[in-house]
Structure formats: structure tokens, C-alpha cells
């Protein structure tokens, strides 16, 4: 039974594949008289085009994982969407994630898939790998069991994996191989949109290089869009087309990768890039002072102001809006006054 997706009036290939508008998602907890509201996603607006790799950067506990989960429609109480919308456009049909759960269920894996940190989050340790492919993908493909198996094997060969791994248990494979399998699993239905949440964190350097090349390869062949979340800016440098910086649940800067690295406009972005070590360079690097913001009780005004080297009085009382500037968008009262790293 095909769930219906709402038909859109005018479709063009220039239509963004994802549109997030004024999204707010909070953890609301009331437990034994203790009420807490953690503003994990606080008013985020962004669009992602087709065939684009969009990197999301930020510290852990900045809300980027909550943002990803909210975009994927994979949230449960106490995390709730309080305002705004998330809309996908798959092949001319609009899908509002929180308005149409039936269509969303049908779209999962076929149009929208995920690669998570730690492949063990996806692969069941007590079942052979082939069962994972079966559980996730078979209902979308509409193929007979043998045809499905053949398709999966061909797909794995394209990724550079021996189809024999299908018969293995996850613990028999190395971490890098499992992560490659997770990517294979996410792409077997050839989705239009892939969400990758820290897929290369904690991987060794050589394996990371391999996995990133694989992601790039797959993206180029399928033309999918990818949201790539990681706190590691060098990974964004390597594969992202555009980068969005999240701080305390808000988008503080967004722009093309080259511009972000050469001409960061927000002090936080500038710091993120300046603090990176580099082989061949032993000049002193500084770490960001202060402690990360408490999302249940964030600083007033601009959330970055307690740690910002450029903060002035206005920053503590008024929160700067995200406005277009240069090649991207920035939310800073003193945008552009940051010296190049």
C-alpha cells in the first residue's frame, strides 16, 4: 500500500530537497516536581539543495544531534517540536515530517536514510549482516528474495566490499568495515537524502580517509544530498560544500566551505578554525575559554557573548538575527570584524 505524498504544484530541479523553517524543539520534563525545559533546537531556518553536502559543525551538547533527530522525524518525548516545520521534497512531492507520519514511514530508507556514529547502533550484534539489509530495505525494493540478494551484492561490490560479509556477524568485522557496511546499508535504496551523524569520529586516520572517500563516491554517483554532522572541522574541509555552525541550539553562521575557512565572519567560527593544529606548524593554539552554554538556562542576548573576545554591551541584551552577509549568513552584531586566522 503506497502512502500518498502531497503533489506539489510547480516542481523544478532547483527546488531545495530540505526546508527547515523556524524550527524549535525542546526537551520538556516534569519529574517529581522538577520542571526543566532544554532548548535543544531554538529557531533554526535552513535549506539544503540537491546534490549538496551540507556540514553541520558545533560542540557536543550544542544541540546538533537533537537538530538531526528532529529533521529525521526521529524524536520522542520528552523532546518535542514546539514550533516550525521540516519539509522534504522528494522528486517533486512535498513531505512535511510532522504533518504526515504515514508518508514519512513510507519514505524512510527509500528517500531518507541515516548513517550513525558507531555502526553497532545499526547492526544487530546477534544476527548476520544480511538480515540488516533485509530488515531495512526489502520492503522498499519490491523484489523477489533472490533478486534482492543479487542487488545487495552488486551494491556492496560497488562500494568495494566482498559480498561474503553478508554472511558474517558484526563482531567478526573491523570497525572500518562495519562503518562501510553502514554506508552501504544507507545507500542500497538510493535515497535522495542521507543524514550522517559523526560517522567518522573515533575512526583511525586511514580508515577515516577511506570512509570519507566512500561517502564522496556514493554521493557523486547517486546525486543525493547529505547532512554531515561532526565537530571536526577538517572533515568539513574535506567534503562539505556548505557548512552551518550551531551554537547553543542556534545557527550562528552558514556559508560555502572555502569562504568559511578563509573569511570566517562569526567569532566562534573563527575560533573553531584557528584552534586546529596542523602538521608542519607549531605555533601556539588556544582553546576556547569558559564553559559550554547550558541549554536549559542559556545566556541572555547572544548566546556566545560570555566567551566571545569581541563582545560588547549590546551582545548581552539583544540576540543578533541570522542575516545574509558576504557569501553566507551570520548572526553577530560585529560580523566581519573578526581578523582572518
Amino acid at each position: 500500500m503506497q502512502a500518498t505524498l502531497k503533489p506539489d504544484v510547480a516542481t523544478s530541479s532547483a527546488e531545495p530537497v530540505l526546508r527547515v523553517e523556524d524550527l524549535k524543539a525542546y526537551y520538556q520534563m516534569n519529574y517529581f516536581g522538577v520542571t526543566r525545559e532544554v532548548r535543544a533546537v531554538d529557531d533554526i531556518t535552513l535549506t539544503i539543495q540537491r546534490n549538496e553536502i551540507y556540514g553541520i559543525a558545533g560542540e557536543s551538547s550544542s544541540g546538533k544531534s537533537s537538530l538531526i533527530k528532529t529533521i529525521a522525524g526521529a524524536i520522542r518525548p520528552p523532546l518535542r517540536v514546539v514550533a516550525g516545520s521540516v519539509r522534504f521534497d522528494f522528486g517533486g512531492r512535498t513531505l512535511d515530517v510532522y504533518d504526515d507520519p504515514e508518508a514519512m514511514r513510507a519514505a524512510r530508507w527509500r528517500h531518507l536514510s541515516y548513517v550513525m556514529q558507531g555502526s553497532m547502533n545499526v547492526l544487530n550484534p546477534v544476527r548476520r549482516v544480511k538480515h540488516a539489509f533485509h530488515d531495512f530495505a526489502v520492503r522498499h525494493m519490491g523484489l523477489s528474495p533472490s533478486a534482492f540478494r543479487a542487488r545487495v551484492e552488486a551494491h556492496l561490490e560497488q562500494i568495494g566490499l566482498d559480498p561474503q560479509v553478508l554472511e558474517a556477524y558484526p563482531h567478526q568485522l573491523s570497525g572500518g568495515m562495519r562503518q562501510r557496511l553502514a554506508i552501504g546499508l544507507a545507500t542500497v535504496c538510493e535515497p535522495e537524502f542521507i543524514i550522517a551523524d559523526e560517522p567518522t569520529t573515533a575512526l583511525d586516520v586511514l580508515v577515516q580517509q577511506d570512509v570519507l572517500a566512500l561517502i564522496k563516491d556514493v554521493q557523486m554517483r547517486l546525486g543525493s544530498s547529505i547532512i554531515f554532522v561532526t565537530h571536526d572541522m577538517t572533515v568539513h574541509a574535506a567534503i562539505a560544500d556548505r557548512i552551518g555552525i550551531i551554537y547553543a541550539g542556534r545557527l550562528v553562521e552558514e556559508g560555502p566551505t572555502q569562504a568559511m575557512f578563509e573569511r570566517p565572519q562569526h567569532p566562534y567560527t573563527a575560533h573553531l578554525i584557528a584552534s586546529l593544529p596542523r602538521i608542519g606548524d607549531t605555533t601556539r593554539r588556544q582553546s576556547l575559554p569558559g564553559k559550554p552554554p547550558n541549554l536549559a538556562d542559556p545566556p541572555s542576548g547572544c548566546r556566545f557573548h560570555p566567551r566571545c573576545p569581541l563582545a560588547v554591551a549590546k551582545c548581552a541584551s539583544e540576540s543578533p538575527p541570522l542575516l545574509p552577509r558576504g557569501e553566507g549568513r551570520v548572526a553577530c552584531w560585529r560580523a566581519g570584524e573578526v581578523a582572518a586566522a
Binding site: 551538547s61 572541522m233 577538517t234 574535506a238 593544529p277 607549531t282 582553546s287
Partner: protein, 288 residues
């Protein structure tokens, strides 16, 4: 020149396989190096997972026994340290920093408890005032203070801050050697430098030698004095850090060095695209 720590052809193997197919897995093969007691340094062990670096750390800390060779700390063989008194004396001089700062602290225990316990046990301090002062002094070394940390739980602070507190705790007994196993791999990239810079301070101002174990070549290049690169339990290359990491001579170490992504989009993309080309040509060859 007396040796602080000496590893003499150290090896560690594990039996693998079932009842009928017993084999041996060599986690560490013939590892030797010496750390000078008079010259504090940052000695880095670089390796990927499975290289044997964590096993080496565990052997130095006395949590595992080498199956061949010997580890000597200040002349005394580490495996002879058995009794509680000996063990405490050893731990007063050799302290660890763990990889996961969130796991290192019990989520239900306040952080200051670890500091106070260390002060009480290793410095023999009894009064509240003395213990507080010792904890505060250690925290000042890492750029924090007791007032900021008192009564806090681990979930209230960032990974970087937690690691700094862990370093402060390790400093309280006045150790000569700190073994840090992947201390920054679970800390956000932007917060790593505070820990890494701290190591330099510890070496220069407190005369502590640090064994820094990591798979991150960039921080290794930035901070180390000497470095050894391990692969599958054996040492591939060893020497002065800038020389080895800047211009590696062995195939494996060169491949490692070339896989490191620099913070520069043009160069980083080139590395990935080259790898991509190699993949595609490799696959085409396989298929053709």
C-alpha cells in the same frame, strides 16, 4: 643519567581460539624505549587501533603483565609491585588519564570527591582545610579553581573541562610520570588544545614526563618531543617528533601522514579526491 621508565624488549601475547585451535596473538612485539628521569619530556606513542598502544599503557600502569621482557620504573621491575603499600607508592608516582572523561567520573558522585580522596590517600592530609588547599592548588595548575568545581557533577561540564579536572587529580600526588591514553579523542576538536597545551605546562613547570598515546598525528606533531609509531604491535619508526611526523621514511608512516586532513579545504579535498581516484581505479581493475 638514571632511567625513569625503561621498557626492555617488552612483549605481550594473548592466547586466541578455542579448545582445539589455540593460537597466539602478539599485541606487542619487542618494544624498547627509555625515559630519562632528569629530562622531563612528552613521549608520544602513535598508532591505530590494534597497534598495541593501549596494551602498552596498561602494562606500564601495572594493569597487565608483559609475557616477555621487563618494564622497570626507577630501576624496579613493575611486576614486583604487589603489596598494597608498594602499589600505593607506585601510584603516587605514576598516574593515568583516561580516554573518556564522561565515563571516568561516576555520574552520581561529585567531581571534587575524587580530588579529595586522592589528597587524603596520597598526601596523608587529614583536615578539611589542608585537603581543600591541595585540591585547589592542583586545579590552579590546570586553569580552574576549587570554587568552580565544588559540588559539581560530571554532566554539568564539557569533556574538555572534565579532562582538565582529571589531570588536576592526577597531579595531586606529585607524580613523575603521567600516562595519557587517548586523552583528547573524545573531546571536541575545538576544546582539545587546552588539554594539549596543558601537557606542555606540566612538562616545563612541574617536571612531569608524559606518555601521550594517540592516533591523532596533528596534536602529536604539535606537542611531542619524541615519538614512536606502532603498527600491529611493532615499532615502525621512532625518533624526534618533528622529523618523524614531518618527514616519515617508512611506507606505513608515510601513508598515515598523508591521510591526515589539514584544516585547509583545498588540501583536504585533494587528499580525499586522490583516495577516491585510487578506489575507483582499484575497483575498475578488480572488475575488469
Amino acid at each position: 643519567m638514571s632511567a625513569l621508565l625503561q621498557l626492555d624488549h617488552v612483549g605481550r601475547s594473548y592466547p586466541v581460539g578455542g579448545l582445539f585451535a589455540r593460537g597466539k596473538m602478539q599485541a606487542v612485539k619487542d618494544l624498547s624505549f627509555t625515559l630519562d628521569a632528569e629530562r622531563p619530556e612528552i613521549f608520544t606513542i602513535v598508532g591505530e587501533s590494534g597497534s598495541g598502544k593501549t596494551t602498552t599503557a596498561r602494562m606500564i600502569l601495572g594493569n597487565e603483565v608483559p609475557t616477555s621482557g621487563a618494564i622497570r620504573f626507577l630501576g624496579k621491575d613493575v611486576t614486583t609491585i604487589r603489596s598494597r603499600g608498594d602499589r600505593l607508592a607506585f601510584m603516587a608516582k605514576v598516574q593515568p588519564i583516561f580516554q573518556n572523561p564522561f565515563e571516568a567520573f561516576n555520574p552520581l558522585t561529585t567531581l571534587d570527591f575524587y580530588l579529595f580522596s586522592t589528597a587524603r590517600r596520597f598526601l596523608g592530609l587529614k583536615t578539611r582545610g589542608e585537603i581543600d588547599a591541595a585540591a585547589d592548588k592542583a586545579l590552579q595548575h590546570v586553569g580552574l579553581s576549587l570554587a568552580e568545581v565544588r559540588g559539581r557533577y560530571s554532566h554539568e561540564l564539557s569533556g574538555g573541562q572534565l579532562q582538565r579536572i582529571a589531570v588536576a587529580r592526577a597531579l595531586i600526588p606529585g607524580p613523575k610520570l603521567i600516562v595519557a591514553d587517548e586523552p583528547v579523542s573524545m573531546v571536541d576538536a575545538s576544546l582539545r588544545m587546552s588539554i594539549v597545551n596543558l601537557f606542555r605546562t606540566l612538562r616545563d613547570e612541574l617536571g612531569v614526563t608524559i606518555i601521550y598515546i594517540t592516533h591523532d598525528l596533528s596534536t602529536a606533531y604539535y606537542i611531542s618531543d619524541r615519538v614512536i609509531i606502532m603498527h600491529k604491535g611493532a615499532v615502525i619508526e621512532a625518533g624526534e617528533a618533528r622529523a618523524v611526523l614531518g618527514h616519515p621514511s617508512q611506507d606505513y608512516s608515510r601513508a598515515l601522514r598523508n591521510a591526515v586532513l589539514p584544516p585547509d579545504p583545498v588540501a583536504a579535498r585533494r587528499i580525499i579526491n586522490e583516495r577516491l581516484e585510487r578506489r575507483r581505479s582499484g575497483l575498475a581493475e578488480g572488475a575488469g
